[in-house]
Symmetry: C2
Subunit: 235 residues, 2 copies
């Protein structure tokens, strides 16, 4: 029974990584499709999103099963709770890739990227792919140095997001309303993607340390709760 339990816990972690890897593929394809107006690639992203959604639901089910059947404590409990809290964010990141692919498809055969913004969007796309890869690596290794890497990427994306607005609102902007809508939505999506990743990263930090928040005042209650449970489990 114990062995089965540890297998299913490993399963939880490997499934989280698997979903993060799928999200990485999705954002990589979606941003490339957006940049090159590749509608076939955009269609692929839209279709593949269902797989991410299904895998997130299946992971939630597994996590709830483990809670119900095996009543994990301490680090095991943290793994299960983290999976429940992270799966939704990963699913949302997949949705964002899908939204970018939908923008591409909607505008085809015209370019989805408005004139004058190609450089900004290419850079934002590259950063988001880096965000997804780093997040996958963080889930795989629990190397908390990567949390800082993700924060840095998020800040860079925030700056680019603001620059897009500056351009759109400048006198030099000649885009029509359609181009303005596209630029607003795409920039917002690309920026949100990194927000979700940072939110996941905080939860992984909790998984690794048992400390609720690495960046704000340390909240000892969780560590205390798991310690109590740990002590109780010895009975």
């Amino acid at each position: 029974m114990r062995e089965v339990f540890h297998q299913s816990l490993e399963d939880v972690q490997s499934r989280l990584v698997e979903i993060a890897d799928l999200v990485t593929v999705a954002i990589d394809s979606a941003t490339r499709a957006f940049e090159t107006s590749d509608v076939a690639l955009a269609e692929e992203v839209i279709e593949a999103d269902q797989v991410i959604d299904d895998k997130a639901v299946a992971l939630d089910e597994l996590a709830i099963q483990i809670l119900a059947r095996q009543q994990p404590v301490a680090r095991d409990l943290r793994i299960v709770v983290t999976a429940l809290r992270v799966s939704t964010s990963l699913e949302r990141m997949g949705d964002i890739a899908e939204h970018i692919a939908q923008l591409t498809r909607m505008r085809f055969p015209e370019r989805a990227i408005p004139k004058g913004l190609k450089g900004s969007f290419t850079k934002m796309g590259e950063l988001d792919v880096e965000v997804a890869r780093t997040l996958s690596e963080l889930l795989r290794t629990e190397d908390l140095a990567l949390v800082e890497t993700l924060r840095g990427l998020e800040e860079a994306l925030d700056e680019l997001h603001l620059k897009v607005f500056e351009k759109v609102l400048s006198d030099a902007w000649q885009g029509e309303a359609g181009a303005t809508v596209d630029a607003t939505l795409a920039s917002r999506y690309l920026e949100r993607f990194a927000d979700h990743a940072v939110s996941v990263a905080k939860k992984v930090a909790y998984l690794a340390t048992g400390d609720w928040s690495v960046d704000t005042d340390s909240i000892a209650v969780i560590a205390e709760a798991t310690e109590i449970a740990e002590a109780g489990a010895g009975n």
Copy 2:
């Protein structure tokens, strides 16, 4: 010990309702501030969002504590898991109210609502307040008829969202790029708000029924898991 346990479970549910009520106040104030360019009210919403965030974190902590200390099963387990999965969405709904308030503040003393869209945005705001109230009521009563009410509201918001885009992209649209950006963001926020509510509603349906998804194929695994745990708990 049992009595303490049941008190903390009731506490979980009442805290969910409390957060949903705060979100209702936030979206009500935010949409009114947006409509009337009331920057003082917008500031209130922005300030109050921290309370929602803090309460969501505190609820997560309580839920994890209960999992660690009391290893709940069956319906009790579902309550705790639902709290963990719902708190994030409620927090996001609060964030959306804050974003709308920020739009209002950013444009002040000018109107945040672009010309020609006042009717659409007033209607969307009213519907979002209705969404928040219905969600609160659903969390309080677990009356699953309200899930359908929420779906209806979400559909109405989707339609209004599309109409905003139609107007912005029509030849009659005379807004400058700034107005187009504002309309795009505000409409997207107001539409997303209902999406989150429906996502919460699905999780509440799981809480009430033990069935994972009310709208897709019924997944029996959760009910099975909780039954097994329930049977095991008799030992």
